[in-house]
């Protein structure tokens, strides 16, 4: 085991960081949100750099795809990186269109990037379908929670091989958990900085132990989610590990959302301040794939179900 980035991973990290510094971050996310847009240009750039095809590459594999999914989320990238880099290649061989959305039939009314998708992966119980644009209907919805979303219906498209739904569901859990870990880390880092700068009663708020312990509890949640999801990806997303990582990530999203906002006070409610660019997304992410209810049910069934 070696938990530091290897040379290839480090090179990918460095290149991603440069790309995100130039073309992502809170300013870019805010501009895109104003028009209910999303970052097709950045997805294009990432694809050209090869960053969306790491999953099936023997030299990089699913772990590297999971890493970039987390880093993109941390950089407030507004585009479905994980769906394209992780979920789609887990069940589709060969060429995959640029923009992929994933829908679970149990929550087909809230599908991130549904209207923007070139390809929709639709998971309906034990069945999975790959529907190209035009092979499903989309009704865009309004939401405050960070992403463009829509409802999908009348999904046609090609039915994937038996077992694909469970495989895609586990990789989607990995992808979403990686996004949560990335966004939650950014929210906590921003909050730590804020509390270090903000002076009340003559001292930085971060100097109060009551505040520190809450921040650190969040930090431990983020570390837990991040390392669980990386391990689960490296081991091929078996149900027990994928659901477990998703459980931790879901709890992380919940706690970091409240604590980051509570500790930031009223400033965190404003559009002017960056926190919402990560925090609001956490609420959407924690409901993906049926949320903690579905993760817990599937975890317990995999671990203790009928023998």
């Amino acid at each position: 085991m070696d938990l530091e980035l290897d040379d290839t991973q480090q090179a990918i990290y460095d290149a991603c960081t440069r790309m995100f510094e130039r073309g992502a971050g809170p300013g870019r996310a805010r501009t895109l949100r104003k028009t209910d847009g999303f970052d097709r240009d950045l997805v294009q750039e990432m694809q050209q750099a090869g960053f969306l095809d790491l999953f099936a590459d023997a030299d990089t594999g699913p772990l590297a795809a999971t890493l970039i999914t987390g880093w993109a989320s941390q950089a407030a990238v507004l585009a479905p990186i994980g769906d394209r880099a992780l979920t789609a290649p887990s069940v589709i061989e060969g060429d995959i269109p640029l923009v992929v959305a994933v829908a679970d039939a149990s929550s087909a009314n809230m599908v991130r990037y549904a209207a923007e998708a070139d390809l929709l992966l639709f998971l309906d119980g034990k069945d999975a379908y790959a529907a190209k644009r035009g092979e499903f209907d989309v009704a865009p919805s309004k939401t405050k929670f960070g992403y463009p979303v829509g409802g999908v219906s009348n999904v046609k498209g090609a039915k994937l091989a038996a077992g694909a739904a469970d495989i895609a569901r586990n990789w989607r859990r990995i992808s979403t958990a990686a996004e949560i870990a990335g966004a939650a880390r950014a929210a906590i880092e921003l909050t730590i900085k804020y509390l270090g700068d903000r002076v009340q009663f003559g001292r930085p708020i971060a100097s109060f132990q009551a505040v520190q312990h809450r921040l650190v509890e969040c930090y431990v949640w983020v570390e837990s989610a991040q390392w669980q999801v990386r391990e689960a990806a490296a081991r091929g997303a078996p149900t027990e590990l994928a659901t477990s990582a998703a459980m931790t990530a879901s709890e992380t999203a919940h706690r970091v959302f409240y604590e980051a906002h509570q500790l930031t006070g009223a400033m965190g409610f404003t559009i002017e301040y960056d926190l919402h660019l990560w925090s609001m997304r956490l609420q959407t992410l924690r409901q993906e794939m049926g949320g903690a209810r579905a993760h817990a049910r599937d975890l317990v069934a995999a671990r203790w179900g009928k023998k």
Binding site: E4, I192, A206, V216, V220
Partner: protein
């Protein structure tokens, strides 16, 4: 970054498992044994381990070890704990007392003590906490006053696990009251049957013998009992505290216990109950979090770093795992969980002790804050 076990690590785990499964009775649980029974068992079992050098595999070969690295130490700890910790109190000698002797002992001390430990002949306890020195360990007041070639030791230690059955105490005492609270501490290796040592059980809500009080009244300690330099005990302790924090793979015991709780839920027909599902899943997720976070600590140790924030983070996660597993037990057992011998009754002590033993949860949070929040935390 990769999560693969090296072939020799996987082989070590396989060999250990085969050995433990052959040598131990089914469902062995050292944690649930009475103290005297525990001591006798661990002494007998340690001899079998010692024959393979598996009692002290992390020690250098010259002292009876195999010079194994941090990953093998984790595997050893995980497998022992998974199989009910047949070493019981021995883990302390192995993880902590032995390495301290190797770092700071005289040739005579090493010759006398290390063999006894690596053969499994002795049990040690650690005389650290005092009525006025818990989390703030360095404010300890037990005094050792030089008197010719000896020291005269007076003071009181509390919460001392295994003192009732231990042969030796790894005792911290103050030899100087001047040079700052960290500066005047020395370590003494004290036989628990020495005149002037009185050990009394502190009745507790846990199992019998969990806690003891050790009173030292005019104990005459020859200078040869002192480990390391006079007033130089604290740096040795600091160096070894990390061993203590990651010493017992608590999450692994909790996870093995959670497996039993899940089986009980299935037998009771509760696996479709939403509260039970939630509690079991949270328990599993918490155990997995602690497991991957100890990998971070071990990875740093394997690279020759001295883990700090990763070790404290792991401790917080492992405390969460013990608590979440207790919640799972109670969700499954309900009122039955308060009865002697129930899963809940067996787990509750671990859930409570995890956040207090070897440095409280709040201490871990403070230490992480110092690193993660930085200067503004002061």
């Amino acid at each position: 970054m990769h999560f693969d076990w090296a072939p020799d690590e996987a082989e070590f785990r396989r060999d250990l498992r085969a050995f433990l499964e052959a040598e131990l009775p089914a469902d062995f649980d050292g944690f649930a044994m009475e103290p005297e029974e525990q001591k006798q068992f661990s002494k007998d079992f340690a001899k079998k381990l010692a024959e393979k050098r598996w009692l002290t595999p992390a020690w250098p070969r010259e002292y009876g070890g195999l010079a194994q690295g941090p990953w093998e130490q984790l595997i050893l700890s995980e497998e022992m704990v998974e199989h009910g910790e047949p070493r019981t109190a021995q883990y302390m000698c192995v993880n902590w007392v032995g390495p301290a002797l190797i770092i700071a002992g005289t040739e005579e001390q090493k010759a006398y003590h290390l063999n006894r430990i690596s053969r499994g002949d002795v049990v040690w306890c650690q005389g650290f906490s005092e009525p006025g020195a818990g989390s703030d360990l360095a404010s300890l007041r037990t005094r050792a006053v030089r008197d010719g070639d000896d020291y005269i030791i007076n003071g009181e230690k509390i919460w001392t696990s295994y003192a009732d059955t231990a042969d030796y105490c790894f005792l911290l005492a103050r030899t100087d009251t001047e040079g700052g609270k960290h500066g005047g501490i020395s370590i003494f290796l004290v036989p628990t049957d020495a005149p002037g040592v009185t050990i009394t059980e502190i009745p507790s809500i846990f199992s019998k013998g969990a806690f003891n009080q050790c009173v030292f009244k005019d104990l005459r300690a020859p200078a040869e009992w002192r480990l390391g330099p006079e007033n130089g005990g604290w740096p040795i302790i600091r160096q070894l505290l990390v061993n203590e924090r990651v010493g017992v793979a608590r999450f692994r015991r909790a996870n093995t216990f959670l497996a039993k709780i899940g089986e009980a839920a299935r037998e009771a027909g509760l696996l479709d109950d939403p509260i039970v599902i939630d509690a079991l899943a949270k328990g599993q997720a918490a155990c997995d979090a602690a497991r991957v976070l100890i990998y971070r600590v071990v990875d740093e140790r394997a690279k020759g770093k001295a883990p700090d924030v990763t070790a404290y983070t792991y401790r917080v996660a492992t405390i969460r795992s013990e608590r979440a597993v207790y919640e799972a037990a109670m969700a499954v057992e309900g009122a039955g969980g308060v009865l002697k011998g129930s899963l809940g009754a067996l787990q509750f002590g671990h859930a409570l002790a995890a956040g207090v033993a070897t440095g409280t949860l709040e201490m871990q949070l403070n230490l992480i804050a110092r690193d993660v929040i930085g200067g503004k935390a002061q």
